[in-house]
């Protein structure tokens, strides 16, 4: 849907900051999250997980466990059909088949009358493992002679296809031009290799679900998820059920960030429930979340950029190696596509290698793949600026992608807001603020594609003129408030007169997952269309009530009005007036939209970061942080700011202290919030935000997704700031104090 008014927009409600409709429930404890639901006769489900990083499962003996009083059902690989095709890897991740592929891989599950019994039962299950050599490092896994996870994995994207299996799933390449020629033209070249560790989305709510399958094969699933339709489809396939037989209700979700876009425990809970004939509730412990949900990749990133003395970049080249855990599908492709997306380059290339290792299967984490490649590129840009003697913001301005730029990943950009964010950074007081001793400043830019996707909404007019809006995308960031704003804006009624709910899978058509920063864009677009659809119908009813042609009726300020003096002298009819008599004019009034939303606008962000280092210990603290990001049109500015701040802070954690630590035995050493160190309130300053609005021509209100772009720049913004404060280039994250102290100690004196 194109932008309504390219010359300028004025809104009555959109852009304001009303209270969110689900707020009261969430501040009183009334809101129900994944683990908050119970059912009569409910059983407790628990999973048995491999303690080995890599092992053949020779046999699983459940006899003793099944005999324990209080145990009602046990499932293993024998209870799940072998699946080929798209869901093959997901099904093998949910329940191991011939091999356990990581520390924490599910091998069996029990449903019992209480937790104590379930725990006892797990201890009684005898698994015969044949321990195999393992590999957890991405570069080690690529070497010939590395332990091979899948005997049927042959590298795609290379010519010729290898005859021997390996851990290298695929090679991707993006770019255009001739990088060799470009480097030959350069006056200054910087080439660096970076390393980043795996991190977890860190949502505070562990995965949880309550499954209930009757012996007629009808199933109900309550689950915290970013996409209940996807969960329905995947679970139905894995259990051999018709899709229509499974109704999935999305609970309130306590954080997702991409990690709840797939299934882990849900098919298991359904299988246990089906076998036991009782509802089964499974809640992951925090340890299980770390060991066995979907963290993001660890990676090595090699970047080479060349430029002329005047700052014009002549070539950019990158090689990315990401491990996606035990199955193919790391986001290295998106990492490679987005690596140079902020730059207007004639010669650019990004190669990505997707590698498997004995770690949990990765899941999306907020702008998957992009923060890692941006880390490398933005640090090299910083160093290039230093070598040329140019301000890093000026260097970016000189090379910033703009309308008409052929992007590094293929498409040509339309109207984009990158320059606007860089200019805003330059003009921001943070940029000029003086720095104290042991402090350093870093700047970085970032990009995200943003997505559209399959979306349905149903907008129903109630008898009193209020509106019930049913959407199919779980609310992961406050989107219900934005939907109410857009519906109310279109209908010309008050914000409080619209109630938005997230419908279950039986009540509405298919909706893609809440991911890719697509919800405000897609569900918003569908809401706008549905509202316009309803308005047409309302005008039609008014026309009927007045006995005039529907063409002679217009909608203004929440009322149907005759379109002109010739149409008749009728007093305006409100939504309530028309709704009250709807039974007599044709029945219930509703607007619908089923769409595959297109026209999502890419968004860019520029971040400024100041850190202070204690030179005797390497202790590092962010002392000032500013996020400047293009939102196209901020529907609810408070929640847009919230996305900017949340993404920035996840990036700060990723840059400074968060990492998965594996031992030599291939086991995860820090599966808890004690030693997996996310930022706490005392670690941070206020996070300043600037919302830039360069309207997206593909959306009626001009909006662009905002949820993901904000996590792309911080890794480099923080690294550049630390490098400046420590006076030594940091090339590995997280930059924990021992690493910083070591780098400072080893740096040549300047």
């Amino acid at each position: 849907m194109p932008l309504d008014n390219p010359k300028g927009q004025s809104f009555r409600l959109v852009g304001s900051r009303p209270n969110r409709p689900d707020g009261i429930d969430k501040v009183t404890g009334r809101a129900k999250f994944g683990a908050d639901m119970s059912a009569p006769g409910m059983l407790v489900g628990r999973l048995l997980r491999s303690p080995h990083a890599h092992a053949r499962i020779r046999s699983i003996d459940i006899k003793k466990a099944l005999a324990l009083p209080g145990v009602k059902a046990i499932v293993t690989r024998d209870d799940f059909k072998e699946i080929e095709g798209d869901l093959r890897d997901v099904s093998r991740n949910v329940m191991a088949r011939d091999k356990a592929l990581y520390d924490g891989h599910a091998v069996a599950a029990v449903a019992a009358i209480d937790t104590a019994t379930a725990r006892k039962a797990l201890k009684l299950i005898k698994v015969d493992y044949e321990i195999l050599p393992h590999v957890t490092d991405v570069e080690e896994a690529m070497k010939p002679g590395a332990p091979v996870l899948h005997s049927d994995l042959f590298t795609q994207g290379v010519e010729p296809t290898p005859k021997k299996p390996s851990n290298i799933a695929k090679r991707h390449e993006f770019g255009h031009g001739d990088v060799a020629k470009g480097f030959a033209e350069a006056d200054v070249v910087v080439e660096r290799k970076f390393k980043s560790e795996a991190t977890h989305q860190g949502y505070i709510e562990p995965h949880a679900c309550l499954a209930s399958v009757g012996n007629d094969g009808q199933g109900e699933l309550w689950v915290c998820t970013q996409g209940h339709y996807a969960v329905r489809n995947v679970c139905a396939s894995l259990l051999g059920m018709d899709v229509s037989k499974l109704r999935v209700t999305a609970s309130e979700i306590g954080g997702g960030f991409g990690g709840k876009t797939t299934v882990f425990i849900e098919p298991v809970a359904l299988a246990l429930s089906r076998k036991a004939g009782k509802p089964v509730k499974i809640v992951m412990s925090r340890e299980e979340v770390f060991r066995a949900s979907g963290p993001t990749s660890s990676a090595t990133v090699w970047v080479k950029i060349g430029a002329k003395k005047d700052g014009r970049i002549t070539a950019g080249d990158a090689v990315l190696k990401y491990q996606g855990g035990a199955f193919p599908g790391s986001p290295v492709d998106m990492g490679a596509m987005s690596a140079f997306a902020c730059y207007d380059l004639e010669n650019v290339r990004a190669v990505g290698w997707d590698v498997v290792v004995n770690r949990p299967k990765q899941a999306a984490y907020r702008a998957p793949g992009a923060p890692i490649s941006a880390f490398g590129v933005e640090c090299v840009i910083d160093e290039l600026a230093q070598k040329i003697g140019m301000d890093p913001v000026e260097l970016r301005l000189k090379n910033a992608a703009r309308e008409g730029t052929e992007s590094s990943y293929g498409p040509t950009y339309g109207v984009i807001g990158l320059r606007a964010t860089i200019e805003a950074a330059k003009a921001h007081p943070h940029y000029k603020a003086p720095l104290g001793p042991n402090q350093g400043r870093g700047v970085a830019t970032g990009f995200w594609f943003n997505f559209g996707g399959q979306t349905c909404v149903s907008l129903n007019i109630n008898i009193d003129g209020t509106v019930a809006l049913a959407v199919g995308t779980p609310d992961i960031g406050g989107s219900r408030a934005s939907m109410c704003l857009m519906a109310a804006e279109e209908l010309g009624i008050g914000y409080e007169q619209v109630r938005t709910i997230v419908a279950d899978t039986s009540s509405l058509g298919y909706n893609d997952i809440s991911e890719g920063s697509r919800v405000t864009f897609s569900t918003g677009m569908a809401t706008i269309q549905a509202a316009r659809d309803a308005v047409k119908k309302l005008c039609g009813r008014a026309a009927q009530m007045w006995g005039i042609s529907p063409d002679a009726v217009l909608w203004e300020n929440g009322h149907a009005k005759p379109a002109g003096a010739n149409a008749g002298d009728f007093p305006p009819l409100s939504l309530a007036d028309i709704a009250k008599v709807a039974a007599n004019t044709g029945g219930p009034i509703a607007g619908h939209c089923e769409v595959n939303a297109e026209g999502a606008g890419v968004s860019f962000s520029t971040h400024l970061c100041d850190v202070e280092i204690d030179p005797e210990t390497g202790f590092t603290r962010v002392v000032r942080y500013t996020v400047i990001q293009d939102a196209g049109k901020a529907i609810h500015p408070s929640y847009v700011e919230g996305q900017y701040q949340g993404g920035a802070v996840q990036g700060i954690g990723w840059a400074l202290n968060e990492e998965y630590i594996y031992g030599a035995d291939g086991r995860l050493q820090n599966p808890g919030f004690l030693d997996y160190r996310i930022p706490v309130a005392s670690d941070l300053p206020m996070i300043d935000t600037v919302i830039v609005e360069v309207p997206n021509p593909g959306h009626p209100y001009g909006l662009r997704g905002v949820g993901e772009t904000s996590i792309v720049p911080p890794l480099a913004a923080v690294a550049n700031a630390v490098s400046a404060a420590a006076k030594v280039r940091m090339m590995e994250i997280p930059m924990s104090p021992p690493k910083i102290l070591k780098a400072m100690g080893e740096a040549p004196r300047r």
């Binding site: 340890e287 210990t617 202790f619 160190r677 670690d683 070591k742």
Partner: protein, 287 residues
């Protein structure tokens, strides 16, 4: 598992002495419940000491201050008397975990958990604190540094329980301080901890000092060479340099997910120095 909440120390000792199987003392529960939940321990008996009045008290006694074993850090931190006499011990106790943890965690529990990285222990060792142990055979007093023998293991015998900590009377012109290194600003287990207590003479010369380091060996170390570097000096920069060097030299740390050997050795010296400076300031300010 059985739960008992005795009303006297005698009852608690009797329960522990005759317990068949594994018995644990429950004070704040901030270590015990974590190990219980994870399945690391499966006690047959848990003895909750928080209903024993004697264990919940902080009292001034003739030769110092007695802190009952069930006193949470938060309560310790609110006690003006202890704060004034031993600010280092209090600040150490107040560094354990979060506000929520502070509401429950006790310094005695911290001590008896016998983690090499326990925050309150270096400060108590530096202060010369004693643990009052009550058992089936009666009472005894041991130096706090002799409670932990190895990670997770104490020198207490079956049936014995620490009833309280005794902090000595604070001599004039004394000060103590505790600093720790953690990568964030809160919530982490100490990567290195340094507790320093010193006493100055009227001429400003250091008469007595105790320096204790945490998280750099299997137990908290009382570093006599580090203390010796201060005694007889005015705690000037040179003395502090010697102190730092002695502290670093005494470390026997490991590489683990919280820090490397080199890092701990270096930072031990840095923190010992900084803690000594704070202790010195407090000593100069004191009576």
């Amino acid at each position: 598992m059985r739960y008992e909440a005795p009303k006297t120390t005698k009852e608690a000792v009797a329960l522990l002495a005759k317990a068949k199987g594994l018995a644990h003392v429950l004070a704040g529960g901030t270590d015990l419940l974590v190990r219980l939940r994870s399945g690391h321990i499966e006690p047959d008996l848990v003895v909750d000491i928080k209903r024993i009045p004697a264990m919940g008290k902080i009292s001034a006694v003739a030769n110092g201050i007695r802190i009952g074993s069930a006193v949470p850090s938060a309560v310790l931190g609110e006690h003006a008397g202890v704060r004034k006499a031993w600010p280092g011990v209090v600040e150490a106790a107040k560094l354990i975990g979060s506000t929520q943890i502070q509401g429950r965690a006790t310094v005695v529990g911290n001590l008896c958990n016998a983690s090499p990285a326990a925050d309150s222990v270096p400060a108590m060792v530096a202060a010369g604190a004693k643990a009052i142990v009550v058992g089936p055979k009666g009472r005894r007093e041991i130096a706090v540094e002799d409670v932990a023998v190895a990670p997770g293991k104490t020198s207490l015998r079956k049936g014995e329980i620490v009833e309280s900590i005794h902090l000595p009377k604070r001599p004039p012109r004394s000060g103590d301080a505790y600093l720790r290194f953690i990568p964030r600003t809160e919530m982490d287990i100490a990567v290195v901890g340094a507790g320093v207590s010193l006493t100055l003479g009227p001429d400003g010369v250091c008469r007595q000092a105790r320096v204790a380091l945490g998280a750099v060996a299997a137990r908290v170390l009382l570093v006599e060479e580090a203390a010796a570097a201060l005694v007889g000096t005015k705690v000037d920069d040179k003395a502090l340099d010697n102190l730092a060097a002695a502290a670093s030299a005494a470390c026997r740390p490991i590489d683990d997910k919280r820090g490397t050997k080199e890092f701990r050795i270096k930072v031990a010296g840095v923190l010992a120095r900084r803690a000594a400076k704070v202790a010195l300031q407090r000593a100069r300010r004191g009576k």
